[in-house]
Symmetry: C2
DNA sequence: ATTAAATACATGTATATACACGCAAAATAA
DNA sequence: TTATTTTGCGTGTATATACATGTATTTAAT
């Protein structure tokens, strides 16, 4: 679907303005599409992101700050996402003995199993849903980084 | 900043996978950047979106459903966003006489003035922050629509 | 005409986002 | 060593997101 149909608007100041709305809309669409699959595993988008980050360092533990700075959405309230993962026994919280201010998080065996299944489902989704050639994707990545060039 | 630095990850399955994360991160960045400016006017991202939609039809009124289907994020809870705009006297709610189920919304004179100032600020932000040529933006728009080709 | 179904909106719940504040521990300065 | 600042995390508040449910009104079916 074209952006014009999606948000029922045809008046854009210029192509850059349209691109901004297009990025926001595409991200919403992508998040929604992913969330539908994640729901089958009882995970939210943010919970999945935290589990993936933990797996990236596994079997090492990570503190909350390290997880937070790797999140896609930087203002995520990581302690509260961990609360929910802990209730589901997907991660374990411990106080660091080296620095007692730090809470260190470990993904559990159950967390790893669930994550593995979920990741397969996500990769299938990307392969089957995103109609991008490797070259198109490369161009897209370059352009998105241009958008953020003046990143603060 | 490159995506790799932003989310401190270098392991992407392929360029398409990286592009997905890049879209999500860029949208977050864009929303955050806009929100900083919007805050000066006491508006959130979603409130600004609703006001712009209302102005697009002004002086006509719009019902909640019409506003909702024009939102960038489709699952927005429009009645509650309108609650907050109404408190700030930026919009007025009335029950439609033609169909008493419908609530019709009108942007107020105050709403129009605030929106005008905010829109100028947003356009300045786009012009000064987004480093995209008209051609780059066009390519980006094409690629994003390719991403959503299999939109449900 | 009466009943059933659909529609438009409001409201409730759980989670997330954005941001502020507070506490305890650690690092630094005096 | 003591005092000050910084850091890491938890928690609180307002708003938003995602979804389910409730209520009134309209439309359609019988």
């Amino acid at each position: 679907m074209k952006l014009e149909q999606a948000i029922q608007s045809t008046r854009f100041k210029n192509e850059t303005h349209k691109a901004s709305l297009n990025i926001l809309y595409t991200a919403w669409w992508l998040k929604t599409t992913m969330s539908k699959s994640l729901k089958e595993y009882g995970l939210t988008h943010e919970q999945y992101n935290v589990l993936r980050i933990l797996k990236g360092k596994y079997p090492d533990q990570m503190c909350v700050r390290d997880i937070a700075c790797r999140m896609i959405e930087k203002n995520s309230n990581v302690p509260r996402i961990i609360d929910r993962l802990e209730i589901k026994k997907l991660v374990v919280r411990t106080t660091s003995q080296l620095d007692k201010r730090e809470t260190v998080i470990t993904i559990t065996a159950g967390g790893l199993v669930l994550l593995q299944a979920t990741t397969v489902s996500m990769e299938t989704l990307f392969d089957q849903t995103l109609e991008l050639s490797e070259n198109d994707a490369k161009t897209l990545n370059l352009l998105l980084e241009k958008v953020r060039e003046k990143e603060s």
